[in-house]
Amino acid sequence: MFPMDKIRTFSIIAHIDHGKSTLADRFLERAGNKKAKNIEQYLDQMDLERERGITIKSHPVSLDIDGFRFNIIDTPGHVDFSYEVSRALASCEGALLVVDATQGVEAQTLAHAYKAIENDLEIIPVINKIDLPAADPDRVKQEIEDLIGIDTSDAILVSAKMGWGIDELIEAIKERIPAPSGDTEKPLRALIFDSKYDNYRGVIIYVRVFDGVIRKGMKIKLMATGSEYEVNELGIFRPEMVQTDELGPGEVGWVAATIKNIRDAQVGDTVTSAQNPASEPIPGFRKVKPMVFAGLYPVESEDFEKLRDALQKLALNDAALFFQPENSPALGPGFRCGFLGLLHMEIVRERLEREFDLELVITTPNVIYRITKKNGEVIEAHSPADFPDPAEIELIEEPYVRGEIIVPNDYVGPVMQLAHNRRGIMVHMEYPSENRVHLTFDLPYSEIILDFFDQLKSVSRGFASFDYDFLGYRPADVVKVEILVNGKPVDALSFVAPKDYATRRAREVLLRLKKVIPRQLFEIALQAKVGGRIVARENIRPLKKDVLAKCYGGDVSRKKKLLQKQKEGKKRMKKFGRISIPQEAFLEVLKVDSGGNKD
């Protein structure tokens, strides 16, 4: 057991590219970890994380520096995983708030910093990249004070790249971040802040011990589910997993206890002793709840079982992934899947296609609508197909978020216009520094799930940053828009839209579908229907000319190869009778280009 007064547990909060990993590298070097040229090679273990430059899982590491034990708990870097972020922060006593001296505070930094404050963490402001000529630490300090409201008089100025200010920072961590307070004699209480599935050892849980001691061979109990297990192995992260005999108060490590199902070891749950259980769990536990739903369908219906197996395998390591079979009249058998957000959805789709070699059609993602019927019954609509007849509906509610946007002054106009088009209501506006504006909007979640961030980047030339938090449900004046292809409704293309904009969006959707659906041998009629009325219509002209002039000697083998290649490309199209609809079509539906103007 490591002496508690020498333990410092903290997280590093930073916007992408503000220098988190370089700083972590410096700590690793100071701990004498010569192998660790680049901490990222340990930390970002998934290919997808590396490719996208974001962290999805928590990656803890315990480093021994000057007789102290630094537990650094890395946090997921995307709003889809904000609950995981909050649990990771709940496992810490402090946080380093790293801000790029040339850039200033960004929206994501803000969101994480607010969470750290909520968790009562000691925050050390760290101004990084002070070696750069454009560094302006005083302006950045001012921004931190204005936006986050913490004192920056003792902010540490560093250059992680050059190694400047690292000693000072290490001293500040020792002095300012509190040592954990815990009691080895009390019943065990350890917080699960992440977990992963290992083929040999079952679920491995990542824990922070608050009270008591967890030992090898001990019988433990997970308080939310009540299930009990025996600890087979435990240890700490160096960052690779190293075995130890026990973990005491303030320690951060891993535990393997042949837990078969990742859903039995949920993030936020409390581990206690089965013999001598704690009376109260660590507060803040919440069951993972998917926020976005979409249909996943195999392009070839016979791949349905393969998709089921793949989803089951992925779910072993992903407690947030929900799926249940559904049958679409248009797409055949598939699954309605629940995700934490769009990024989570994208990750799952990519893994299914890459690791399991599946060709998938993914339908328009939607939020969960809460519908109160005239007879008083309340239902949750996970897909437009769940919408009851309009005559039976008393009230529809949809989830709202509070969005924080930080943007240079010059782009305030377009950003406000964009938020307005997405039914955003401005609740706050402030100027943290002369040239930057902090805007706060309440927005329907449905308006931001698909392309809001892309649009925001495009209207601000990439300068705006954005983050959000859930507010809860608010009444929504929305209707279901059905899309018909050659007179037949295609459920997978249906969507929900605000009543005032429904016709306009229906027209836009049809125009976009017209662009992505290739011309075929016959005319294709696209129609949009709201409440029994056709509100928009587009025709895709049939192909007129598709003829190959010459076919002599070697042409036939070239032609054959070309056709074979085309056939491969077509695999990503879903066939409705003879009509081929490419996969992109299903995602085109949710993109919004106008929106603001009522019909």
């Binding site: 041998l521 192909l543 007129k544 003829v547 002599y552 000697g553 032609k559 074979q564």
Partner: protein, 372 residues
């Protein structure tokens, strides 16, 4: 065994803007001589390898075979005739090379068919395409051909792209030529290949596409007009007076065997398809075949389908399809709802209507998908 022979002459006086064939400028006579010597050796080699084969048709294509000195052309023709036959012996020619004298020479050698590359009767287009002859040369050449009594084909191109400022003369051209009664006509829509001058000009914004509707209307007009004038539209791009369909082309489309000799020539012999080396340097140094594959099973079936469906009103024969291992009922089931496919007891073909012919690619793809 019945066999056809294709002979490639890769020399040209100039390179047409749209051309992506292998061709070399006519520079040194000794290179041509060496090339022809190698051709003769290759023909000999095949003759010895296939002693029982009888020559059915022969075709000298290019390039510009008419640009070869007559003495060299004669060497080739004599070599072919030594093998025996052929019943149809075609040579390709450019209009500016066709004189009464030249014609009487090749006829006396034993050539009985000429394919003349007229392409267009617009002098503006000819010059934009970098062709060094005029419409007048073409008319004169066709007059000579017609009066000589030899079988001849006129090659025409439909410009799918036009240089800005130049207008289309297509319908007028076709009428003018048909009035001179060639017994065979080929009309190809211009394909744009990467690496050609045409491709660069399109990318550079000098040429623009002809609107699809105009192209479509012109093709509908062409198919109807040729029919009215008594021509049999027997393959997508080919029209012939009855009995004058190109025997050599039909060899390709029926999967009959043919030997190809010369640079970049293809051949199909005993179900082996081979391709010769693409550069004259390699060819002269004696390395000839670049690659070959055995075409069998599903590939043989698919290729049959691909070519047969291009034959208008003829299409896939049930007998042959089944002999090649194809399932007739699956094929028939693909045709349900396809307006452009017609089925009889023993055949399945693309309907002889301009609309359907214009879509033949998509129709063929749709029909043959399970076998691709």
């Amino acid at each position: 065994m019945r066999l056809s022979l294709y002979i490639h002459i890769p020399f040209c006086r100039y390179k047409c803007a749209y051309c992506d064939f292998v061709s070399y400028p006519l520079l040194k006579e000794d290179i041509e001589k060496q090339y022809v010597d190698r051709l003769l050796e290759e023909i000999d080699w095949w003759h010895q390898a296939l002693p029982d084969a009888t020559l059915y048709t022969a075709y000298i294509g290019g390039g510009t075979p008419s640009a070869l000195p007559l003495s060299l052309l004669e060497k080739i023709v004599l070599k072919v005739r030594k093998w025996g036959g052929p019943v149809e012996f075609t040579v390709e020619a450019n209009p500016e090379d066709i004189s009464r004298d030249w014609l009487s020479h090749i006829i006396s050698m034993g050539i009985n068919r000429v394919s003349v590359g007229v392409q267009t009767l617009s002098d503006e287009l000819l010059s934009a395409w970098n062709r060094k002859h005029t419409a007048k040369d073409s008319i004169r050449a066709i007059e000579y051909l017609a009066s000589s009594g030899i079988n001849f084909n006129v090659d025409m191109i439909y410009p799918t792209y036009l240089p800005y400022g130049i207008s289309m003369s297509f319908r007028r051209d076709i009428k003018t030529i048909v009035a001179m009664k060639p017994n065979h006509m080929s009309v190809y829509m211009m394909d744009i290949h990467e690496g050609t001058l045409a491709h660069a000009l399109i990318r550079g914004g000098k040429w623009g596409p002809v609107e699809e509707d105009i192209l479509y209307e012109d093709m509908v007009w062409l198919y109807n007009f040729m029919g009215d004038m008594g021509y049999h539209h027997y393959e997508i791009s080919n029209f012939a007076l009855s009995g004058y369909e190109s025997k050599h082309n039909i060899v390709y489309w029926y999967q009959d065997f043919y030997v190809g000799v010369g640079v970049s020539a293809w051949g199909f012999v005993n179900f082996v398809r081979y391709e010769n080396v693409p550069t004259i340097k390699d060819y002269l140094q004696g390395s000839i075949q670049r690659k070959h594959e055995v075409v069998k099973g599903k590939d043989l079936l698919t290729e049959y389908g691909l070519m047969a469906l291009r034959l208008i009103g003829e299409g896939i024969s049930r007998f042959r399809w089944e002999r090649l291992g194809g399932d007739w009922s699956i094929l028939i089931s693909r045709a349900i709802d396809m307006e452009c496919v017609q089925i009889t007891d023993d055949r399945l073909f693309v309907k002889d209507s301009p609309e359907c012919i214009m879509l033949s690619n998509s129709v063929i793809e749709e029909m043959l998908e399970p076998w691709l």
